[in-house]
Structure formats: structure tokens, C-alpha cells
Amino acid sequence: MELNVRTQVPPIERLNDRRRLVLALPRRALFIPGLLLVALVSLLYLSQTSDLAGTGYDIADLQSEQQQLQMQNEQLRLQVDQLESLDRVDKEATTRLHMGPPVHVIYVTAPPMTLPTPVATTQTPDSNRTASPSGWLGNAFAWLRARVP
């Protein structure tokens, strides 16, 4: 004898089973993408943290390099000052360049300077300008003037 299961299950219970089936399907379908999303976010976080740590070390390296350069700069500045010291300049001047201190210093008294008197003029700054245009246009005007009586 064939047993009809459906006829034996009450209609309300069948409805609940269907609902469970409908709800269960999306959960299963979302589990994998959700897992992937979490993995992706975790990777992003790790990547960012790693980048941050790397940047931190880069900054530390740059700070160290800056300190080194500052140190070198200070040492070079000291060398410049030492090379410009009077003892060293005097030694170079007397031994290498065979220079000596000034023996006779002569102060020349210059006659009082007479400044040239400004020439009175009526010219305005623009008075020396010609009315004609300059350049090739001016040349053309001049050529025309020469030919037109």
C-alpha cells in the first residue's frame, strides 16, 4: 500500500517546512561570500597594518638619516670655521703666500668731490619719443614720406 505522506502532514506544518526551506537557502548561499568578505577585510587590515609598520620604519630611517646629515653638517661647519680662524689664515699668508703685515700705511686725503650740476631741461620724459611708430611699421612710414611730396 502506497502511503501518501503529504496527506498525513497537516497543512500548517507543511507551510512551516516550506518557510524553513526558503530561509535556509539564502543562509547557505551567503555563508561563503560572507566568509570571503571577512577574509578580505582581514587581509586589508593586515595589509594596512603592515604598511603602517613599514611606513613607521621608513620614518625612523629618515629620522636617523636626518640626524646623520645634521651631524655631518655641524662637523663641516666646524671645519669651515677652523679654516677661517685667524691662526690658520695668518699661517697660510705668511708661510705659503709669503705675505707680511703692512709696514707703511698711507691714508690719502681725497679732495672734496664736486657733483656735476644737473642741467636744466624742459624735456619731459616723453618728449624724446617720436610720433612715428618704430620697427617695420616706422620704416614703412619713412619710405612713404620719402616718396609722398
Binding site: 603602517l52 613607521g56 625612523a60 651631524m71 655641524e74 662637523q75 661647519r77 703692512p102 700705511v105 691714508y107
Partner: protein, 600 residues
């Protein structure tokens, strides 16, 4: 055998409920139960123990372990400030701080000291045996192998990559001009604090304030650059700009060194002042220490840290006649032409005064008294002035009290007043020519500068500007007082010019500068010893200024115990002349008078 219920298709209830028990099985169950209880009890005990330990660590010892954890993960490092520079009046660096790398070793990590020493020795320039000795002495704390390596040496050491060695950046105080003005600039100790000179006097301004970095650190102990941190920036030291001119200082030191060497003297001092402002242009002293020496802190060097021109008082001798004559002229007691009869000795309150160089008895003017440096003449003039006025003027000129110059260790000198118990009226006579009292070179130079400055005494000073990131402090000339009338200063200046110009018996001829009027006075002071004065030891000195018409500088030269000649004229006056000639060229001062054929 299956139970009856099983055969009928019913659950085997009866068999489970009414199962027959056997004594052996009961014992086994009990044993198992006890085992479970035992294990359970053990686990519970462990949990309780761990919980108790946790409570102990987290609650009772919270503060202690919290501090340890913080120290493990957080790093607090002190950031030293950069010590301020010291510049001369034109901005040339006289003292500065430079960072170097020092080589340290964690000796416990160095496995083969001999091999490491052999590698390091040629690079850092130290004996391999010394390095090996340091490395073999195993210590927990880092040990210094060599301080302040130049950059190229530090790089070479780093390239070796030896385990247990590390480089640490450390500041070093350096003096780019070499030993110039070493005593004035002073010395800095290993703790970066000043020990002498300006480094000591202005230590609070130069030192700055250290900063602090509290930061999370990585496994290597380095601070995480982007980690949480608290940063307090260091405040660097202020920059001092001095009134001292490095060229004037250099000239003064060079000429002083030459004179001390030439006369086999014990030492000496030179002070150069700008009489118009009191600004110190140079202070030189010999002997001095080497400020870049490795043995900078040796007792021999420490003994020379002081500034003799400021801290060593001496009997000035005849230079003091300038003060006596200023008092006599300013009170109107005498004029340059006032004459008295000089019998060759002077009896005064039971004592007798003689001149250093005897002359025939005869009339003598006050101008001649200065020119011949007559002890009898100034003693007579001081007697005319009277003790009250004489000491009043001496005090006006700043004798017997510090000038308050901004340098450490200033001596006040000694001036016994008539109110003192041990003062005797005869002291007036001896004090008038600079015996029985003491002055420092800076005091005497300031007093002479007052004459050059129209009778106005200025306070000498060395620092004219202090610059910090927050503010700039300027120091202006300070007038101490009008010690004599301007007309008296002019009269006295003319008398002092005559002292240098005199071609007969003048003692200051060697101080001349061709083409310029120079005012000045020599001094030859006997050195006091127990029970009197040394018969053959003197302090030779000269104080003067130029050009006399418009003085630009005052120079005081003091040479201690010259061996070949005791006189100020032959020992100190030429030093004045040599310095004055170079300063006149330096300041480009045109001649004020014609030059004779003999160059005078």
C-alpha cells in the same frame, strides 16, 4: 542472551532498570567515580591556584607589574638640548657644539676581544692593547671605547659590523678659533655644564632645557615612529654675542705671548676696552690652558681656568699716578704748571719717599712729575689733596670694589681707607704712587678709560646680546658715574700725551705710535713679599689710549716678573705700541699728526 522484551519488540526497559548487579562491577564504578572526582578536584585546585595567582599579579601587585610592563613596552628617552654658541662682536663663532658619534661596547657580547681590538686599532687610532684591555673587562653597562669619532671614522667602524659594538651620538663643545680667548670663554664639563669663564657665568642661558620622548618601542628597543608617544621638545641654549672682537683678541694674545716669551716672564695680561662704552674688546692672559686638549680637566689646566685680568689683583705702581693726578687736578689743588721743589726725597709722617730713578734736586712741575714718574711729586700732590679727598677719588674711579663685569671670579682689590684700623697717614704717600693697594687689570683699565671718556666711568662688559628662540636680550653701556670734570680729563690727557712724547727723561717713549697722539703711563711695581718687597722682582705695566684726541681704545698691559728688565717702559710699553699700531690699521683711523723723519 537477549532479554525477553527485545524479542517482543519493546524497549529493553527492564534490562536497564532491573539489571542485576554484581559486586565487582560496583567496585569498578566507584573507582572510576573517584578518579573523576580526583581529576576534577585537581583541575579545580589548579584553576583556584591560577586564579589566586592571577589575583595576586593583577590586583595585589598591580602597580609593580604595571610599571614593569610600561617600562618593557614604553621607552622614555631624554633629548639633550644643543648648548648655545658664543660669537664675537662680528658674529664669528668662538664656541659651538658639534655632534659626534662615540664608540661603545657591550663587553659581554664581544666574543674575541683580541681580534676586535686588532680590527679597531688602525681605524680609531688607538693602541690595540688599550682596546683589548677595555673589551676584556666584562661589564654589564656599556663601556666607552673612544669618544667623539669624526664622521668618516664612525662610518668605517660601522662597516666592520662587529657584534657588541655600537655608536652613540653625543655633543662636544668645540672652539673653532683654537685657543683664542680660552680663559674668557671657559670650559664645559662632561655633564655639559660650564666650569669657568663665560661658560660658567652664563651657564643657565647656554645650557638650555632637555626634552623628553615617551614612546612605544619595538623588539629592538627603538621607538615606533607611528606609535603612541608623548614628545616634549628640548629648548636649545641661547646664543651669546660678545663685545670681544676676535681680531683684537688675537692681536692682544699674540703680542702678549711674544712679550712673555721675550722677557722670560712668569705671565701677563692685556685688557683692551672701548672707553666710550666700556665694551671689552679683548682680555688676554698668560699662561693659559689648551681648550682642545685631551687633558683639559687635569689639575695643571684647572689651575689656569681663571682670568688673570679679572681675578689677579696686584699693586699697580706708577700707573696709579693717573688717579692721584686726576684727584689733584679735579679738586683744583694743582695745575699742570704747579711747581714744587723736589729735593730727591720726601719725608711724610715718619716715612721717607724716594724716586725710582734719582735726579738732581730742583723745581718740578706736575706735568714733569707725570713725565718723570716721580714718586715724590705725586706724594706731595696727594698730601696737598688730603686723605679724605684722595680716597674719595680713588673710590670714584672704582678702586677697591669689583667692576661687576659679567665674568666669574672677579677680585675687588684692596684699598685701605683712613677709617681702617691698620691705616697710617704714611699710607697716603705710598698709595699715591700705587703701593700698598691692589687693583685688577680690568679695574685699572676702566679707570684709565674714564679719563679717555671725558671723565665718565663706564662699567666694563663682555656680553652684548643673548638670543634665544623666545626672546633677544640686549645689553647697553652702563654709566657708573662722572668721576672727574670733562675739562680735568682733557688736561690730564694732554699731560699723559706729554709723558709719551717726552724725549728727555720720559719713560714711555716706546709706547709711541708714529702719526698719532698717544696718552699713557708706565708702571713698575715691586712685588710684595713677606716683610717687604722683593728686591729684584717687578710687575711691569703700561696703560694708555689712542688717538688721544678721540680715543678709540684703551690698552692695559701687565707683564709679571720679567727676567731681563724690570721696567714698564722696556717691557710693557712696546707691547702697547705694537697692539695700538695694529688696531689703528684695523679701525682705519687716519693719522692725527705728522710723522717725523725718525718715524715718531
Amino acid at each position: 542472551m537477549p532479554s525477553p522484551g527485545y524479542a517482543l519488540g519493546y524497549p529493553d526497559v527492564v534490562s536497564t532498570i532491573e539489571r542485576p548487579t554484581v559486586t565487582g562491577e560496583t567496585n569498578e564504578l566507584d573507582t572510576r567515580r573517584w578518579r573523576v572526582y580526583l581529576i576534577g578536584s585537581f583541575i579545580v585546585a589548579c584553576v583556584l591556584l591560577l586564579s589566586a595567582r592571577l589575583v595576586y599579579l593583577q590586583v595585589i601587585e598591580h602597580a609593580h607589574f604595571g610599571t614593569m610592563a610600561t617600562a618593557e613596552h614604553w621607552r622614555e628617552s631624554i633629548i639633550p638640548p644643543r648648548r648655545g654658541d658664543i660669537l664675537d662682536t662680528s658674529g664669528n663663532e668662538l664656541a659651538t657644539s658639534v655632534t659626534y658619534e662615540s664608540l661603545y661596547a657591550s663587553t659581554t657580547e664581544v666574543s674575541d676581544p683580541a681580534a676586535v681590538a686588532q680590527k679597531l686599532a688602525p681605524i680609531i687610532g688607538a693602541p690595540a692593547s688599550d682596546i683589548q684591555k677595555i673589551l676584556s673587562n666584562k661589564q654589564a653597562a656599556p663601556t666607552l671605547i673612544k669618544a667623539w669619532l669624526p664622521d668618516d671614522v664612525a662610518t668605517a667602524v660601522e662597516k666592520l659590523g662587529i657584534d657588541g659594538l655600537f655608536l652613540q651620538q653625543e655633543p662636544k663643545r668645540v672652539y673653532p678659533q683654537g685657543n683664542l680667548a680660552a680663559q674668557v670663554l671657559g670650559v664645559v664639563g662632561a655633564d655639559n655644564n660650564g666650569l669657568s669663564g663665560l661658560e660658567l657665568a652664563y651657564n643657565s642661558e647656554l645650557a638650555g632645557k632637555p626634552g623628553k620622548l615617551v614612546a612605544e618601542r619595538d623588539t629592538a628597543g627603538d621607538a615606533l615612529a607611528l606609535g603612541p608617544h608623548q614628545y616634549t621638545a628640548p629648548i636649545n641654549g641661547s646664543t651669546l654675542t660678545l663685545t670681544i672682537d676676535r681680531y683684537v683678541q688675537w692681536v692682544a694674545e699674540r703680542e702678549l705671548e711674544a712679550a712673555v716669551s721675550q722677557h722670560h716672564a712668569k705671565g701677563g695680561s692685556v685688557v683692551v676696552l672701548d672707553p666710550r662704552t666700556g665694551a671689552v674688546l679683548a682680555i688676554a692672559g698668560r699662561p693659559t690652558f689648551q681648550n682642545n686638549a685631551t687633558e683639559l680637566y687635569s689639575q695643571q689646566n684647572v689651575d689656569m681656568y681663571g682670568i688673570p685680568a679679572v681675578s689677579n689683583a696686584y699693586e699697580p705702581g706708577s700707573i696709579f699716578k693717573i688717579v692721584t693726578m686726576a684727584a689733584a687736578l679735579d679738586t683744583g689743588t694743582v695745575t699742570p704748571n704747579t711747581s714744587f721743589f723736589n729735593p730727591g726725597y720726601f719725608n711724610y709722617y715718619g716715612g721717607t719717599i724716594h724716586d725710582a730713578i734719582g735726579r738732581s734736586p730742583g723745581p718740578e712741575t706736575m706735568a714733569q712729575t707725570l713725565t718723570y714718574s716721580s714718586n715724590i711729586g705725586v706724594a706731595w700732590a696727594a698730601g696737598q689733596v688730603g686723605a679724605v679727598k684722595f680716597y674719595e677719588y680713588a673710590q670714584r674711579f672704582g678702586i677697591g670694589r669689583p667692576t661687576d663685569i659679567d665674568l666669574p671670579g672677579e677680585a675687588s682689590g684692596v684699598l685701605r681707607l683712613p677709617t681702617a684700623d691698620d691705616w697710617h697717614p704714611f699710607d697716603l704717600a705710598t698709595n699715591s704712587f700705587g703701593q700698598g693697594l691692589s687693583v685688577t687689570p680690568i679695574q685699572m683699565a676702566a679707570a684709565v678709560a674714564a679719563v679717555a671718556n671725558g671723565g665718565t666711568l663706564m662699567k666694563p662688559y663682555v656680553v652684548k646680546r643673548i638670543e634665544s628662540p623666545a626672546e633677544t636680550r640686549l645689553f647697553y653701556p652702563t654709566v657708573v658715574g662722572q668721576v672727574i670734570k670733562p675739562q680735568t680729563a682733557v688736561t690730564l690727557t694732554n699731560m699723559l700725551v706729554q709723558v709719551v712724547d717726552d724725549n728727555t727723561l720720559g719713560e714711555s717713549r716706546l709706547a709711541r705710535v708714529p702719526g698719532y697722539a698717544v696718552a699713557g703711563k708706565t708702571g713698575t711695581a715691586e712685588i710684595p713679599i713677606a716683610g717687604g718687597y722683593s728686591p729684584n722682582r717687578t710687575i711691569a705695566s703700561f696703560a694708555g689710549f689712542a688717538p688721544a684726541e678721540n680715543p678709540r681704545f684703551v690698552i692695559l698691559v701687565r707683564i709679571d716678573d720679567p727676567q731681563d728688565s724690570p721696567w714698564g717702559e722696556t717691557v710693557a710699553a712696546p707691547v702697547f705700541s705694537a697692539i695700538a699700531r695694529q688696531l689703528i690699521n684695523y679701525y682705519q683711523i687716519p693719522p692725527t699728526r705728522g710723522v717725523n723723519a725718525n718715524g715718531t
